[in-house]
């Protein structure tokens, strides 16, 4: 597969989205991260990232591996001190570690973080009691969450005896036990079977409006179904942020054309594609060229003329709605990340 859209598109997107992000903050912003920077030696994991999260929304936090999602999440949840920048929750500045004891934040990390030698019920109740919930209330809440996450039959099973998927569900439940104001979920769908995905997604959606949820994911379809707004980051920088429709709309108003020919598109049309790039969003995958443009009719006609002029055979031409994956690939490229 070939990446035909390198960084310039991303760069322009940053410029275009920063004002959008600040505008979002004006509407009952519950969390504001400003100019966050985090370095690990020479690596700049997060590079001046600013985002604002609205109260009660579900924000999908997207980015390739190593984009800085987890680091940003840790800084926003108070688990990691930024090298520069600030985080505010409800207007109160958050120093790293200052969220200790605050019921405002819940975290379900990417890795499974449960107590192996406690039963499901015991650890949820214990977690609740660590937030000063009375034992009976914590037990009631634990029982409720076990039902919600389909673990009621495993209430008396030790954490280490659960399957990987069950442990993941328990991992999420542990972040919710004290009913936090903001819930940070890092790749919650990883390792879940389709049934569990639906179950978790539906429960999270049921919290919309009552709890602010920031969720990182690689799964664009999941982000599409779950999120009110999404943001895409890469190399520690914000590339785009908006509602799912707004973000999709960045690609030719949300409509995408796929043109399939009888040859490798990149090899056959490379000089032409370079000429076309300033006015279109292009992506090539073997013999198929995906094209989005604000003037799609002209752009498609131009491509077809080039195809015919080079003696290539048009195999297929179709229009479809842009997906988040299209936007994601467009913004972050096709190159594999470690």
């Amino acid at each position: 597969m070939t990446d035909t859209r390198p960084s310039p598109v991303g760069a322009s997107a940053v410029a275009a989205t920063q004002p959008d992000a600040s505008a979002a903050g004006g509407r009952d912003c519950v969390l504001r991260a400003t100019d966050l920077v985090k370095r690990y030696g020479d690596l700049v994991a997060v590079d001046g990232l600013s985002i604002e999260v609205r109260r009660g929304e579900i924000l999908g936090f997207l980015g390739p591996n190593g984009a800085g999602k987890t680091t940003t999440l840790k800084m926003m949840s108070g688990l990691l001190a930024p090298d520069a920048g600030s985080v505010e929750i409800d207007g109160r500045p958050v120093r790293a570690g200052a969220l200790h004891g605050s019921a405002s934040v819940g975290v379900a990390p990417q890795e499974i973080v449960i107590w192996d030698s406690l039963t499901c019920l015991e650890q949820l109740q214990f977690a609740g009691m660590m937030y000063d919930m009375p034992a009976a209330a914590a037990r009631e809440r634990a029982t409720y969450l076990l039902e919600v996450f389909g673990l009621e039959g495993k209430a008396r099973k030790l954490g280490k005896t659960l399957s990987g998927g069950m442990q993941r569900r328990l991992n999420i439940a542990l972040g919710l036990v004290h009913e936090p104001e903001i819930l940070f979920l890092d790749e919650p769908q990883a390792g879940l079977d389709p049934q569990s995905r639906v179950l978790v997604r539906e429960y999270l959606r049921s919290l919309r409006g009552r709890m602010t949820i920031v969720v990182t994911t690689h799964d664009m379809e999941e982000a599409d179904k779950l999120s009110d707004r999404v943001c895409v980051i890469d190399h520690g920088r914000l590339l785009v942020m908006g509602t799912v429709a707004e973000v999709k709309g960045r690609l030719g108003g949300g409509e995408l054309f796929e043109i399939t020919v009888d040859a490798d598109v990149t090899e056959a049309l490379l000089p032409f594609l370079h000429r076309l790039r300033p006015t279109c969003t292009l992506s090539a995958d073997g013999s198929t060229l995906s094209l989005a443009s604000t003037q799609p009719a002209e752009a498609v006609a131009e491509v077809l003329r080039e195809v015919a002029g080079r003696g290539l055979l048009l195999v297929n031409l179709r229009a479809r709605g842009a997906t988040l994956e299209d936007v994601f690939i467009d913004l972050t490229g096709r190159k594999l990340r470690e």
Binding site: L79, G106, V113, F126, M130
Partner: protein
């Protein structure tokens, strides 16, 4: 409430991770039986060889044979009748005829001592007895014995000293000769006779407490290794509550281990002069010290693997430098309120062994071990402060 919940959680985890718990609880009692067996088997019955040039050869040890003079027979009976305080024989006496072969045995430390009874030994004793009883002038020459021994061997030196003492005593009684020196014993020990095993029991009890280093460090390192420290950091649980709950749990486990070890000692005949309450008090304070060192240890480790490898070093340091396994040369550091502090007192279990010895074997009370308890508590506070600072810095930093 949080501290109780955390205490319960830690206790449940310790119970369910029963392998570490069983190791902690069983290690010291097993050592009690092992050391009891060792002291029984290794009760120092010194192997004493003798060659008799005084009378006819070929006499066997035991009842005085007819071809051995009554003086030699009496000496053999004295050696064979010598007893340790626990009633066990001091010597195993064997006659030999081949001196070079016997010396080779002593050099190889297969025997501890070869005593040569020279010709004329019995006559000299008889002459001495007559001379001692008469008013004549100069005493006749004394009877002689020749020791063939490796003086660099502790057992050889001990065997020689005890053999000489027994022989002098026997000769004194036999000849009625007045001794120029009379040494008497002013006993400083307990009224009962203490065996080597009795003196070792306090150290074995402290060994049981040192084992809690593993359970305590496991409770701490596991939270780091499994990432659950993050959940605790976000919760309202305070660092001191976290450490206090784990420490209280370890004190409970330590006291159970102490009880089991004590029962094991009782089961092989150990009897104590001390009060159980004092034993528990010293045990609890010692466990606090071990728990504090466990916090320092856990602060330096990040995984259970590290705990089971690198983490064994502090365990061995405590085990070997607290005089639990054997006595160490004492390096005097300071004197405080009439009490001497030694270099290895920096490890609380050292003071624990000393205090428990006073309580168990000499019936000591609070006033007898108060200094050790106070120093242990001060050291514990220091270790906790260092451990907490390190733990927060390495595992709770954001």
């Amino acid at each position: 409430m949080r501290i109780v919940a955390f205490l319960k959680k830690t206790f449940l985890e310790n119970l369910r991770e029963w392998k570490v718990l069983i190791l902690t609880l069983v290690f010291a009692p097993a050592f009690v039986y092992m050391m009891f067996g060792y002291f029984e088997a290794a009760s120092p019955a010194y192997r004493l060889l003798y060659v008799n040039h005084d009378g006819a050869a070929g006499a066997t040890a035991g009842a005085a044979p007819a071809d051995v003079s009554s003086e030699v027979a009496g000496l053999l009976a004295a050696w064979e009748g010598a007893r340790h305080p626990d009633g066990k024989p001091v010597f195993v006496v064997t006659e030999v005829t081949d001196v070079p072969a016997a010396e080779a045995e002593v050099r190889a430390r297969d025997a501890d001592l070869l005593v040569e009874i020279p010709s004329g030994f019995s006559q000299a004793l008889r002459d001495f007895a007559v001379g001692a009883g008469s008013d004549a002038g100069a005493s006749p020459p004394p009877a002689r014995l020749v020791n063939h021994a490796d003086e660099t061997s502790v057992r050889g030196a001990m065997a020689m000293a005890l053999s000489d003492y027994t022989a002098f005593t026997y000769a004194g009684v036999l000849t009625q000769a007045a001794s120029p020196l009379d040494v008497t014993l002013a006993s400083l020990g307990s009224e009962r006779q203490l065996s080597d095993f009795d003196l070792y029991v306090p150290a074995l009890l402290v060994l049981a407490l040192i084992m809690t280093l593993f359970t305590a460090a496991t409770s701490l390192v596991k939270e780091v290794d499994r990432g659950t420290m993050m959940r605790l950091m976000l919760s309202r649980l305070r660092t001191w509550e976290f450490l206090a709950a784990i420490t209280v749990n370890q004190v409970l486990i330590g006291l159970i281990a102490l009880g089991l070890t004590y029962l094991a000692a009782l089961s092989v005949g150990y009897r104590s002069d001390g009060s159980v309450a004092m034993v528990l008090l010293v045990g609890a304070v010692t466990t606090l010290g071990v728990a504090a060192i466990a916090v320092v240890t856990a602060a330096l480790l990040r995984s259970m693997f590290e705990l089971l490898t690198v983490g064994t070093f502090p365990f061995f340091i405590l085990m070997f430098f607290s005089e639990v396994m054997f006595p160490l040369p004492r390096v005097r550091v300071a004197e405080l309120a009439g009490h001497v502090l030694y270099a290895n007192d920096v490890l609380p279990p050292t003071l624990g062994v000393r205090a428990l010895n006073r309580v168990l074997n000499y019936g000591g009370g609070l006033s007898d071990v108060g200094f050790e308890l106070v120093v242990m508590l001060l050291l514990t506070a220091g270790y906790f402060a260092l451990g907490t600072w390190l733990f927060r810095r390495r595992h709770m930093r954001t």
